[in-house]
Structures are given as C-alpha cells and as structure tokens.
C-alpha cells in the first residue's frame, strides 16, 4: 500500500470530455482484428476470406510462440484481409451476423480460481485467446508465457488528456475484477500491483484483495504504466515486468467465470469533434469508430483511436485498437497565420510563457492537429525536465540514442520508459523534436541487439 504524489508533468485541459454515462452501442456491422496492435507478435493468418468465425475463433497466431493466438470478437464472416508493405498483415475485417455465437471454454467458480496452478492458468488464458492482454516491460510487447515476470502491474488509472475514468468504468464490477486479479496473482511468484488514482471509490479498486495497492495523484503522466513501475518496483537491467489494462482484468475474470471469450469494451468517446457523442460507449473490441460516432459525417476532423498524446490516426473508417479504450476527435489544423511569431497570442495554448495566453486564466482549450512550428535543432534543452516525473535525464538520454550509444542509453534508464512517457516533451518542444520516436528507435535498437 503506497501513495504517490507526482509533481512533474502537466495536464492538457482539452475540450470535449465524455459525460459520465454509459451508453450501449448496438453490435457494429463490421469489426476488425488488427495485427499491428500487438507489438512483438509476428502474425500467421489462420482464416481466409469467406470463412465463418465465431466469437473466440482464432484469427491469427504468433510465429514465434504459436500458442499465443488472437481471436475474433464477433461471429460472422471474414470479408477482407488487408495487407501492407512486404505483405504484412494490417487488418482482418469480419462482417458480423448479429448472433454472437461463441466457442465454449471451461469455466470456473469464483473460489476455484485461487486454487489453480500457474500452468493451468496459462493454459486457460492461451486457449481462451486472452493471453495477448498481458504485455511486458521493457519494450511494451505481448508477454511471453515461457518467461517469469518479477511482478505484474494492473493499470487502473489513466491521466492522458480526456481519457476515460477507470474508477467510473469499474463501478459495480468488483466480482469479475477480483476474479481477474486472482488469476493474475496465480501467474506470478511476485506481487500483483494495482495502481489507481487517489480518490477512487469503486469497490473493485478500494476493496481489491490479494494484491498490493498503490494510489497515484498529480498531473499527467501520473497515470502512465512507466510512472507506476518506476515508483513501485523499478526495472533494472535484466528485469521483466508484465502489465495489463484494468478493463482487460475484467475480461480475464469474465473468461474464467463464464467460459466465453469476453468482448466487451467501454470506450470514452471524447474530443470537441465528437459533439453529441461524448459519452462512455459500451461496445466490443475492434469496433469501428464510425459506430461510436453515430455515423456522423466528419469533415476536417482527425479521428484517433486513443488519446491525442499516444493514439493513432485511424480515420473515420478506422477501427478501435486492441488496447485502447478511448476515441478522440479533434479538428484538423494547418491554418497559416500572418507573422504568427510576432503576435501577442491571447488564444494560443502553450506550456511556455512566451504568449499572452500564459498570463490569462486557464480554461478548457481547443487544440487542432497543427504542428505550430517548423523542425529545428534542439536549442532549449530545459523544457523536458519538468515534464518527466521519472528519474530520467531526458536530454542526455535522447543524445545517447541519437549517437547510437546503446550502452549509455541503458545506463540512463531507457528500459524503464516507453515512447508515450515523452509525449509531453514532444508536445512542448519548441524545436518540434519527436522525442518519443527517438526513444522508440532506441528501444528497438536494444531489443534487436538483445534478441540476436
């Protein structure tokens, strides 16, 4: 039991938060399974176009560890297999038939779960297709069932701009949630750390048993997985930690209790572009964004699966990513202004204090997708420090990566980070440096070197 107050970081007060109301969305006509969502898996397709699938039918499996399989979230017919460069699988689209017939799996009564062995649990998760919800640090890849993590983190808060309130989503769900936590506990000899926001009220969180609970408060990135791990059980070289999203803990609990591949996903629909639809939408994994936005015709809008800081631009025709529980719609930017560098800027949004707006009272802001500047060499090297709450020297870390000095990057703690931890740095950088990409490249370099 710990309580951590994060000082560094910053909240971006975006317009368009979701109303605290859960709206059930009708089953979408199409859903998609997108292999690129699963970092670290190399996909081997197990269905063809026109195949009929059920809920829980294997769509693809990993080439490295074939037991890791990803399932269809709906029953219906495979209508498209989309490939990209070098025939890499991009998405498998399934036309739903509305019946949601499911493959059946063994189920377990609540009290039996705690008696299951690690091997049994691993087997149920793998065969039940829920294994991929477990991810690992370093590298944020899908966990390998043959490796032992030193601890498992449950990510039960989110501090990204407009992110859904995990505490609200978990209200009244303590049964499944505790079952899920028990499963996780059975997977590791170490601790299961449940990290949630200070002030949470749901019984699922406050009365969670058999786990270590930790409360975090403060500005973003107080809710990031890296922040939690860094303060609770930091990763040293050679360490392995698993983490899982709170909603996926619900799904794990539900798989064991019901014996059916659980597909439910509660998504916060946010952003000023999502007018009239800013609610918590109860839908299924892999749902199309259009179904959440009520078929709105969006012009000059950017549709993101995830948040503005770490999401992906999937477009109006895109689908929700596997791990995401947020959709954000923001206006497109790119409007040019005459002599913008000289204007007082009463309506500009900035972390710096170089515009008049910095001295006016803070209110919710409207931000578009404009880059607001051109790429330059890094000159102001002090902007990053106040935005990263980890004991990481960001400027020196990115210099080490850019110089290709993998060893120094490791010494400076790159293995404790993920690119999302530096999204605020990229946001605030006056030279418009993509700090997250540098970190991602550095991690990829180390991952490649280690696996050889």
């Amino acid at each position: 039991m710990g309580s951590f107050s994060i000082q560094k970081g910053r909240d971006i007060l975006l317009k368009g938060a979701a109303k605290k109301e859960i709206v059930t969305i009708p089953l979408p006509k199409r859903v998609a399974v997108q292999p690129p969502d699963f970092n670290g898996l190399s996909s081997r397709l197990r269905v063809k176009v026109d195949d009929h699938v059920k809920v829980g039918t294997t769509i693809f499996s990993d080439k490295g560890v074939p037991e890791i399989q990803v399932a269809s979230p709906a029953s219906g017919k495979v209508v498209a297999v989309n490939r990209g460069d070098k025939r890499a699988l991009l998405s498998i689209v399934i036309e739903t038939d509305g019946r949601q017939e499911a493959e059946s799996r063994p189920k377990f009564p609540r009290e039996k779960i705690r008696t299951l062995s690690k091997a049994e649990i691993t087997d149920v998760l793998l065969k039940g297709h829920l294994w991929p919800v477990l991810r690992r640090r370093p590298f944020s890849k899908v966990a390998d069932p043959h490796l032992k993590p030193k601890s498992i983190f449950v990510h039960a808060m989110n501090s990204e701009p407009l992110a859904g309130d995990v505490d609200f989503i978990l209200q009244g769900r303590e049964g499944e949630f505790q079952a899920g936590l028990d499963v996780l506990k059975g997977l590791t000899d170490g601790d299961v750390h449940l990290c949630y926001a200070q002030g949470a009220t749901s019984k699922a969180l406050t009365q969670a048993a058999h786990v270590q609970t930790h409360m975090f408060s403060g500005p973003h990135p107080a809710g990031n997985v890296s922040t939690h791990i860094h303060y609770v059980d930091p990763i040293n070289k050679g360490d392995l930690v698993w983490y899982v999203e709170a909603q996926d803990v619900l799904r794990i609990g539900s798989l064991f209790l019901s014996g059916v591949y659980p597909t439910e996903r509660i998504v916060a629909v946010t952003g000023e572009g999502a007018v009239h639809h800013q609610v918590y939408a109860k839908t299924i994994v892999g749902a199309p964004l259009s179904s959440l936005l009520g078929g709105m015709t969006l012009q000059q809008m950017r549709c993101l699966s995830g948040s503005v800081l770490s999401g992906r631009d999937v477009g109006t025709g895109g689908y929700l990513r596997f791990y995401d529980s947020q959709v954000t719609v923001i206006p497109e930017g790119g409007k040019r202004e005459l002599l913008g560098w000289l204007m007082p800027g009463a309506r500009k949004y900035t972390f710096s204090r170089t515009f008049l707006s910095s001295f006016l009272p803070q209110r919710e802001v409207s931000l578009d997708s404009g880059e607001h500047g051109s790429h330059r060499a890094i000159v102001l090297n002090h902007v990053y420090d106040s935005l990263v709450p980890l004991d990481i020297m960001t400027y020196f870390l990115i210099k080490a990566v850019l110089a290709g000095n993998v060893e120094e990057a490791e010494q400076l703690g790159i293995l404790e980070c993920d690119e999302e931890d530096f999204a605020l740095c990229t946001f605030a950088c006056p030279s418009k440096t993509d700090v997250g990409k540098i970190i991602r490249d550095g991690l990829a370099l180390i991952d490649k070197k280690d696996s050889v």
Binding site: L14, P161, P234, N236, R302, L304, V308, L309, S310, G311, R312, D313, T328, E332, G334, K335, R336, E337, L338, L339, G340, W341, L342, G345, Y349, T350, S352, R353, T354, L367, D368, S369, G370, E371, H372, G373, S374, H375, R376, A377, V379, L380, N381, H382, D391, M393, Y395, F396, Q411, L412, G413, E420, A423, T426, F427, A428, P430, S431, D434, G436
Partner: protein, 389 residues
C-alpha cells in the same frame, strides 16, 4: 493573408524537389515561415502541439534585448557629446548613436547571415532562427568605433569556427557571439581595447571604470578613484559610461532579464549563480585587502556588478542554453564559476581589465564536463538501485 499564402505557394513551387531552385529551399523556408506560420500537421502521436516554436523563443530574446539596444543607441551618442563637450538634445544623442550603431548591426547580420545561409544550403538544413540573436548580441558587445570590416570578419569567424564546424546550431561548444568577440579582441587589439575606442570621436580617450580601478595606485580606495575619474554608481547602473555598445547599462540588462524570466526562456539558475560567484569571490578579496593591495581589493561586489560587461554577459551570454550546462545542478556550478572567474581575471590578471568574455568562454568549454559528472550521478543511482536487491 490569403493573398500572401497563395503567392508563397506559387513561389514555393520553384523550390520544390527537382525544380531549378531546389538547392535554395532553405531561403524559401526561412522567408515563408517568417511571413506565415507553417501549415504542417502532425502525422503521428502526439497529435497536438504547443504553440511555441523556435522563432517565438528567439524573438522573445530579441524583445528582451530592446532596452539594451535603445540604450546602446542613446549612450553611443551621449558619449560623443561628452567627448566633444557639446550639448545635444535627447534625440540628437539618439540619432547620432543610431547612425554609428545601426551599420554595425546591419553588417553583423549581413555577414553572419551569409555564412548561416551558405551552410544551410550546403548541408541541406533549414536556416536557424538562433542567428537572429547571435547577430545582435555580437553587435552589442563591440566598441562603437570598430571598423565595419572587422565586424564582418569577427562574425564570420564566430559563425563558422564557433558554430558551423561543430555541426551547426545546437551542437556548438562555445557561444558563437562571444567567439566572434574574442576573435576580434585578440586579432585587432588596437581597435578593441584601450582607452580611445569607447567614444566615437577621433583622438579622444577616456579610461573605462574597469581601467580606472585597475590602474589606481595600490592602497588607495577604488571608489575614490572612480569618483575622481567622474564615475558615479548611478551613472554606471544607468549606463552613461563609456563601454561596449549595448552593455553599459545594468538597468537595461535587468529589464531584459525580467522579460526573459517571465517568458521562461533564460535559466535563472545561471544568472543567480553568476551573481553568487561574483559576490563570493569579491568578498574573499575584500577580506584579504591589505594596506598595499590593489585598489580592486576594496571594491564592493555591487560595484563589480555594474561595471564592464558583467550584467550583459551573465544575463544574455552565459544563459545561452546550448553552450551552458544542460543540467539544473550544473547550471548553478557553471554560473558560480563564471562569477568567480570574472573577479579573478579582473583582479589578478594584469593583461585584461575585463574578464566576463573569457570567463564565459572558459566555462563554455567546461560545461560538458560538469554535465558529465551530474549524468554519472544519475547512472550511479540507477546502478546502486539494481544491486541493492
């Protein structure tokens, strides 16, 4: 606005890949983004970006320099007036100074800008806004009588040797403006130092406050020597004294500092460190003053601060984020050592009456070393954590 946008789009076509002017794209980019904010959109997360860019940052430094620039115009004229013993009006002084100083600023921008642009074209990168600051900083730390060709030679050295050969903006070890100043200081000492270069009147010479104290008889009071030479604390604080164009007024520098700190562009740690270092070192000398020691020994620290280039150097030069230390603790160490070195060079070294330029350049060289030790601390902490379990 739409008109400007359309025109730029039309012209921009000529600089596109494969078009005749492709090589000169950096020029187009510089002018295009000067006129209009860039219209680029984010492609990957994060999808929203801060409104600040490097142009805005550099422009705020230039705004912070405005008091020094205006004071530089006025004081240059004022010194001519005093030298000739004439009565000019306020605008007379200002106009006279403007006529002297403006050509220096323009030559600095033109010559330095030429090298910036040349390297941008050859290296195929954008023209960096940082030069807007380097160009004016360099002009402000020159004596008003400097021949224009020396202005051009100096800034060329500063930009090419001080910055571009290290890889350009963001990579330089030394502050380019100070490198340029140091070059002309050592290459053309006759036009850069002595008593005759500070007022733009032929044949007139007057010792600067620093020279007055340095040459005062041993065992005498430094303040008395300054008063005898006609320098009061008030004049030195306000800046009505001979000296380099923009650095005579501590008040103008403080106004600039206020703006830099409000805008959050300069590091207060460096400036505070400089003040702490200078105070500490001059107090040490003050404590050891004897009957026969140099007059400098009994000069109180707050007089040191308004003399020479200390205020300007510590506020606008030492705070350059690229050439200063990049860690928070490092900035303190870096600043304090600059302050101490300034006093040390002023007092102990008989060759140079002023030490700010050399102190900052010297610490520029050491800044990476300071950072290295602080980064090692971080690495050690991480290693200790790993072995603790």
């Amino acid at each position: 606005m739409k008109f400007v946008e359309n025109q730029m789009k039309k012209i921009g076509g000529l600089f596109a890949k494969g078009k005749p002017l492709e090589k000169f794209f950096p020029f187009f980019e510089a002018i295009d983004t000067f006129l209009l904010t860039p219209g680029t959109r984010t492609k990957k997360a994060p999808f929203v970006r801060d409104a600040v860019d490097l142009k805005r940052v550099m422009v705020s430094v230039i705004i912070a320099l405005i008091p020094c620039i205006l004071m530089g115009f006025y004081n240059t004229g004022y010194q001519i007036q005093t030298a000739k013993g004439l009565e000019y009006s306020f605008w007379g002084c200002f106009g006279l100074g403007l006529a002297k100083v403006l050509p220096i600023i323009l030559v600095s921008y033109a010559a330095g800008g030429f090298w910036e642009a040349l390297f941008a074209v050859v290296r195929k990168h954008e023209i960096n806004e940082g030069f807007l600051v380097t160009g004016i900083l360099y002009a402000l730390i020159l004596p008003p009588t400097i021949p224009l060709w020396q202005v051009a030679v100096g800034i060329s050295f500063g930009v090419v040797i001080g910055k571009e050969i290290f890889g350009g903006t963001g990579m330089n070890v030394l502050n380019p403006a100070l490198t340029a100043r140091a070059f002309v200081f050592f290459a053309y000492p006759a036009q850069m130092s002595g008593d005759a270069v500070w007022a733009a009147v032929d044949g007139f010479s007057r010792a600067t406050p620093l020279a007055v104290v340095a040459t005062a008889q041993k065992g005498t009071s430094a303040i008395a020597a300054l008063t005898d030479a006609g320098y009061t604390f008030k004049d030195m604080f306000l800046g009505f004294i001979p000296g380099s164009i923009g650095e005579t007024s501590a008040l103008a520098c403080l106004l600039g500092l206020g703006f830099l700190l409000i805008a959050g562009v300069a590091s207060w740690r460096v400036v505070a460190g400089c003040a702490v270092g200078l105070t500490a070192m001059s107090l040490v000398f003050f404590a050891f003053r004897g009957e026969n020691s140099m007059a400098f020994f009994n000069l109180p620290p707050y007089w040191h601060m308004v003399m020479g280039g200390f205020a300007f150097g510590s506020i606008f030069m030492a705070t350059d984020p690229v050439s200063s230390s990049a860690t928070e603790t490092g900035k303190w160490i870096y600043g304090i050592l600059i302050g101490m070195l300034v006093v040390l060079i002023r007092m102990v070294n008989p060759a140079y009456p002023e030490g700010v330029m050399l102190a900052i350049l010297f610490m520029n060289v050491f800044a990476p070393l300071i950072d290295h030790f602080i980064v090692q601390q971080n690495i050690k902490r991480r290693r200790a954590r790993a072995t603790a379990k």
